[in-house]
């Protein structure tokens, strides 16, 4: 009997042990994935950056992969990403924050039941569908009513502004809801109107969460590829900020347009473009998680 229970025990112990090992290994998968992504992007991207020269790669104004010798300057794309992102913030952030305030503090329950899934759906629409919508609706609209040929920084900005709305709204809303009720009540008890209490007391209290929302929205805008590529014109030409009706090419579009046929140094330059993008995104993410921690979201 004693012996048999001992054997039975060992079996249980072993099964527990095996399961635990499987769970730990699974949990390491994410770590492994990030490691592989970093290593492979850097190993393939850095040498090219080195050959081209980091300075001339980052500040070069000409992208001429087919010339001999080719020129690989990605400043036009860095600026392109910057322009459309700033534009997206301009169109998306104010609307998103006001909408979030509405959802958290002004929305009647019956409306909330419709709005919340609507915002979720907005987040779920694939970027090609947004891109297609941009191509067939926004581009002709801008061409017809504002100017240029429609494929422009402005069009991309509007489209991206629409696309980052759900991110801004969802995160800001939860930040506003996380503000303790006492802060609102305190303001109202001092005679503040509902609007005044919400906008001048509750919203400032949620500001780091709202900031985090904006930063995550910026991350989405910088990283967005298909939709931008479909409406931005994609000329790899250095643009000045006032040329919002001209086309531009973003870092993401640069990769998606040329990776399919690029070879050798050209391909490596594209991977290096990806590395630059990756570094930007990492910076944005670090800023986001620092703000998130501060707010305890």
């Amino acid at each position: 009997m004693g012996r048999r229970t001992l054997v039975a025990w060992k079996k249980v112990c072993n099964r527990e042990f095996v399961a635990k090992v499987i769970f730990i290994v699974s949990a390491s998968a994410a770590v492994l994935a990030v490691g592989l992504i970093c290593v492979f992007l850097l190993v393939q991207g850095l040498p090219a950056m080195w050959d081209i020269g980091i300075v001339s790669f980052l500040t070069g104004t000409d992208w001429r992969p087919t010339w001999t010798p080719p020129l690989f300057g990605i400043l036009p794309m860095i600026l392109g990403s910057l322009y459309v992102t700033v534009g997206a913030v301009f169109f998306g952030v104010p609307v998103g924050i006001f909408a979030a305030v509405f959802m958290a503090r002004f929305c009647p329950p019956y409306l909330y039941k419709v709005l919340k899934p609507a915002v979720n759906l907005l987040a779920g629409i694939p970027s090609v569908v947004y891109g297609y919508f941009g191509m067939v609706v926004l581009v002709p609209f801008v061409r017809g009513h504002i100017g240029g040929n429609g494929n422009s920084i402005l069009t991309a900005s509007i489209l991206l502004g629409m696309m980052i709305l759900p991110t801004i709204i969802t995160i800001s809303e939860s930040a506003i809801r996380a503000v303790p009720e006492e802060i609102y009540e305190g303001a109202v008890a001092l005679g503040a109107s509902h609007e005044r209490a919400v906008f001048f007391t509750v919203l400032p209290a949620a500001k780091s969460g709202v900031f985090a929302a904006v930063i995550l929205g910026i991350g989405r805008a910088v990283g967005e590829t298909m939709a931008v590529r479909m409406v931005a014109g994609n000329q790899a030409v250095l643009r000045m900020p006032h040329e919002i009706l001209s086309g531009t090419r973003t870092l993401t579009a640069n990769v998606v347009i040329e990776l399919g046929y690029a070879a050798d140094e050209h391909r490596q330059a594209l991977i290096a473009t990806g590395v630059v993008l990756f570094v930007f995104i990492m910076g944005i993410n670090i800023a986001f998680s620092m703000l998130k921690k501060k707010d305890g979201l």
């Binding site: 229970t5 039975a8 025990w9 249980v12």
Partner: protein
């Protein structure tokens, strides 16, 4: 005969010492009650009798706890220990499954597979917990549909299903109405024939109604321990007297 012997048991949650030098002997086939104000350590102590405290991070125990003369500390197989020392919790916690599966969970855990044997165990456990007549027609239905008092008796049946020696009850009636409480008290008294019962209670009347021994805890110390009627009629310690006469707590 003593079921448990505790020798100098100290327990820490991180830096906080929750139990201080507890010595006591818990007799077999009797009902032992732990009383005391909230945070006095009575729940902590009962949970160290089947090592449920292992689940709390940063919990350290020193001293000796002997079950039938053998230490339960260190590398004891806790699963086998918990099979011998069953537990009923403060809030009824039936699993989200059928009545039958709730009771069969324990035996299945310990290797009983045959349908016939499981059926017998389920019926016996439910009968022992005096709930068979109420649930025999709905064994396949979810246990979450039972009333609070029924759920708690189901949990007692579940604890009995693995044929433990000891039944630990951590304030088992604090979430129940008076009628359900009376039923459970009645049940506990019948159970002591076959089981050693340790019960934590907030309710001093409950301790006097059902227990043979009572221990009074305060700030992690066992202030006084003895026969229930003695402790309540002639407390030796001033603090015990103050507590049972309702001066604090």
């Amino acid at each position: 005969m003593n079921k448990f012997i505790l020798e100098g048991v100290n327990l820490w949650y991180g830096d906080f010492q929750a139990l201080k030098g507890i010595d006591m002997e818990i007799p077999a086939n009797k009902i032992t009650a732990f009383i005391g104000p909230s945070g006095c350590g009575k729940s902590t102590l009962i949970k160290s009798l089947n090592r449920m405290n292992d689940l709390i991070e940063g919990c350290k125990v020193s001293g000796n706890i002997l079950l039938d003369g053998e230490s339960i500390n260190g590398d004891t197989d806790v699963n086998a220990l918990r099979k011998r020392v069953g537990m009923v919790f403060q809030k009824p916690n039936p699993f989200p499954m059928s009545v039958f599966d709730n009771i069969a969970y324990g035996p299945r855990t310990h290797g009983v597979k045959s349908k016939l044997a499981l059926g017998e165990i389920v019926e016996r456990s439910l009968r022992d917990a005096a709930i068979w007549d109420e649930v025999k027609d709905r064994l396949k239905k979810s246990a979450l549909g039972l009333s609070g008092g029924q759920q708690q008796r189901l949990c007692i049946a579940r604890a009995l299903s693995v044929q433990p020696d000891v039944l630990l009850m951590d304030e088992p009636t604090s979430a129940l109405d008076p009628i359900s409480t009376a039923k459970i008290e009645e049940l506990v008294i019948t159970l002591k024939k076959h089981y050693t019962i340790v019960i934590v209670t907030h309710n001093m009347q409950q301790a006097t109604r059902i227990s043979n021994r009572t221990g009074f805890f305060l700030l992690g110390e066992l202030v006084e321990f003895g026969k229930t009627n003695k402790l309540f009629s002639l407390p030796k310690d001033k603090r015990t007297e103050d507590y049972i006469t309702g001066r604090f707590g």
